[in-house]
Amino acid sequence: MFLNDQEQQILNEVKQFLADEVTAELVEESLHNELLYGGRMGREFVRKFAKRGWLVPTWPREYGGLDCSQMLAASIRHEMAYARVPMTFAGAFQGGPTILNYGSEEMKAEFLPGLASGEIEFALGYSEPGAGSDLMCLKMLAEDKGDHFLINGQKIFTTQAHIGDYHWLAVRTNPEGPKSERLSLFVVDFDTPGITVNPMITMAGTQTNDVFYDNVRVDRKYLVGEKNKGYHYILAALEHERTFPYGHYLRFFEELLDYTKTATRNGQPLARDPLIRQRLAEHETELEVVKHLYYSIAALMDEGRSPAYEASMEKLFLCEFEQRLAATAMEVLGHLGQLTAGNAVAPLNGLAEYYYRWTVIETIYGGTSEVQRNIIASRGLQMPRAPRR
């Protein structure tokens, strides 16, 4: 949206590519993979897409990027979302930048080209049954055996475990010492002996996973950066990578708008109902706000500044907006709103119904609204620490 001519040209090519390549089947697969990368059709699509450097446009050219601005990266993600493939990449967007910043040369060479080209994908392995937002309390243990680490324990909500290739794993390597100096990050091949992945199904019908490690031996070269620095690496990555694209909700809103212009209730077009007019105008306004929260983070980073709380604010605002939008859609559609995708008579292809379930889940993923508010209060307003035990 605010690009120089060369980057605008790239964005135009992206739009054309998406118009040509995104099929209904791909959208369907993506939706049912929680918009995550790794499905069969998704992989074919992304490999073609990523060949042009579009997946990681801000990365250096030597690792498959384009040395372009954050604004272009945000714009490409927006177009992908608007084309209904708002894929989230654990590797290209979260693990990759951390490897780029802190990984050894050997690790960069092994993983970055594959992540940039979409050949491989990671799965985020942070949450445990006893540690969600309270990341410093992870229990899963990696014992330092010199040339390798021996890992035992359980991860939960490893959402990409069934479709990704490697586990981007946060574990304890230091049982003692300050809590912030206990964790390390590893890249672990899911094919390593001793790893078991068990599915967990969400109320949106999507899959996330439990992952069990039983004496899993991981070579030392798969330790990311320095030992016991994992917590700091994760925080640094979260600051940059929490921004959620909104294009698919814009698209959905546009379809809802069209629906209200044609559908009638009690012999009157829905669009004439003053309450519906107010509500839809409110969402149109909220989408404008989301747009600025989203792109202003890229603008900030392109100015060489680091977002402190802004990404949390965007995530908070967008996710709560999504819930309101889905609720409005259900209200507009009346009892037809409950029809799921696949019913021939379902308005808007059943998306209202799906989003009504999914937006609850998305509001929790990546930190609940309340966790985002804690971050905004402490980093944005320097408020005193809440009492903790």
């Binding site: 669009a271 600025h292 100015e303 908070l316 508010r373 905004i376 209060a377 005193p384 809440a386």
Partner: protein, 372 residues
Amino acid sequence: MSYRLDSEQSMLKNAARSFFEKEVSGALIRELENSETGFDRDLWNKMAGLGWMGLTIPEAYDGFEAGFTYLAVILEELGRSGLASPFFHTVALGGELIWILGSEEQKTAILPRVASGEIILSVAYAGADEPRSAADLPIKASTDGDGFLLHGSCLMVPFAQIADTIICAAQSGDQEASLFLLDPDTPGLTIKALQTTAQDRQSELLFNGVRLENDKLLGKKRQSWPVLQQLLHQAAVAKCAEMVGGARRAMEMTVDYSKERVQFGRPIGAFQAVQHHCANMLTNLDSSALITRHTCKQVSAGTASVADMAKCKAWVSDASRKLLLLAHQVYAGMGFMEETDLQIYFRRTKAAEQIFGNSSFHRETVAREIGL
């Protein structure tokens, strides 16, 4: 594109911030609220001395011809100070109307005196509701020989009692609006003071057969509604800048208070219930500041659509109100005391929310613009 100010705009912002911090105190605002005119001539002259009255007036009429974003910078700092000032209607609306609609003679006679601070303008156009068309204008103008005869009553006219010239919009035919330059002493015109939330000086204007000569017709045009409407949209955006400034100050004083006020052995700002209110305040503020900055830049560049401007006012009106209500929850008992400045911002924010159309008015505009 950036959401930041350029270096000149930043300098203006810093100068305005220092000026208002030095010149406008809560004590002064209270004094003005209780005074007859609500107006401080010395302060006005100092502002004029800095060249602010001529900020957007073309150089040919002794102004600086700076863009809308510059105006928004001053308004944001004015809003931060909490001061109710005729600056808004003189510069953001009145001067613009004269520049766009006025005849060369009118522009030459009035604009340099606006730029120098010599004259104060007000604008009268609304009845019980914010108008959506010329047919909604409450004053009717009929032709009377060489001139016009005006009847009707106009509401919520700011600083009418101290204005040197009141620009009055009247219906002059089917879907036609004519704007007049009105001397407050014109026979047949009665100005009645109204009591308002913000104790700013708004008046009711009663036109009982006010006769105006042809030379009082602004720009000799009888079809001025589109210009007035466009400038009212822009004024709504300018008002957003003022609201952002006030909301920022209200949030800052509240967050500061939450860090000092100790209960149950710790600052109340350490409680998550309070932190979440404050996080919501910052979200309301940042979202308002971003959409306002962006829309101001669009207005400057001449690319702002009606929907863009309406979305801005709809959002900022709601977000500012929410922010102030949260601030009061955090500031609790002390926040609602007359002696605490927060209540000034609470009342000023409400006044800003209601003028130039509140959020439901602008949402209806948005609904029309998106084809509903």
